[in-house]
Amino acid sequence: MGLKRNVSLSTALGYKGQGPYLTFILHRIGGSALFVFFTVYILSLVGVQSMHTLMSNWLFQAFFLVFGLFHAINGLRITILDIFPKLIEHFRIAISIEWVAYVLVAGFALFVVLRTAFGG
């Protein structure tokens, strides 16, 4: 794959893959976010106080929950389709189910984080 691509992100998101392509891109963003989260976790374990403070920040938690949960749920869908290849015929339905599950789980996680952050 070349380094110079004449395709903008918006065009790429409108690529023929559309929904599946969106999950592909979000899976990568989520994976990269979790890599950063893992680094912050290790630094926090080492005793870097600023990293521990960062992990306690509600915005940080909300960001990583939104992307991390998508990565986990989308990964589960990919794994299931890999283990049971006959289900690939129904991958669009699987993606729809995945979105419903994601919205419910991420919505609940965000609600808990925001409620804890702002009280009430």
Binding site: M1, G2, L3, R28, G31, S32, L34, F35, F38, T39, Y41, I42, S44, L45, V46, G47, H52, G75, L76, T79, D82, I83, P85, K86, L87, I88, E89, F91
Partner: protein, 136 residues
């Protein structure tokens, strides 16, 4: 879209197939560890009367808070679970990060360097995590 019917034998065991299998196995291990970890945490919470959240927090940050679990076997199991999870996450993450990197960087040299740096980072991070979790 037709379902794939190509067997592992026909695909051949090259690097890509191995890493594909490795990534799938590590992710299945992660889901398994999450389920066992949550159920185990709930069970320990029931036995000891300690808040489930406090147990999970201590398990992942043993150097930040005091140990809420009384018995030795609980400590050992909890620590081993977290170490296993960290190792599996590292293995899974190495392949994921390199796959993304390889998609955007075409130079052989840059790819080789990235591979060395990411694998070294994963090894060092794992050792640090294991040391802190065991020694705290």
């Amino acid at each position: 879209m037709a379902a794939r019917t190509l067997s592992i034998k026909k695909r051949g065991l090259n690097f890509e197939t191995f890493m594909w299998a490795f990534t799938r196995f590590t992710v299945i291990a992660m889901y398994g560890l999450i389920i066992v970890g949550v159920l185990g945490g709930l069970r320990l919470s029931m036995i000891t009367g300690v808040n489930f959240g406090d147990i999970m927090y201590w398990a992942f940050f043993p150097n930040m808070v005091s140990n809420p679990l009384g018995q030795v076997w609980m400590n050992i199991i909890a620590r081993l679970m977290v170490i296993a999870f960290v190792l599996v996450v590292c293995g899974h993450g190495v392949h994921g990060v390199l796959e993304i990197w390889d998609d955007y960087v075409t130079s052989e040299k840059a790819r080789r360097w990235a591979r060395n740096i990411v694998i070294s980072y994963a090894i060092v991070a794992s050792i640090i995590a294991i040391y802190v979790i065991l020694s705290a």
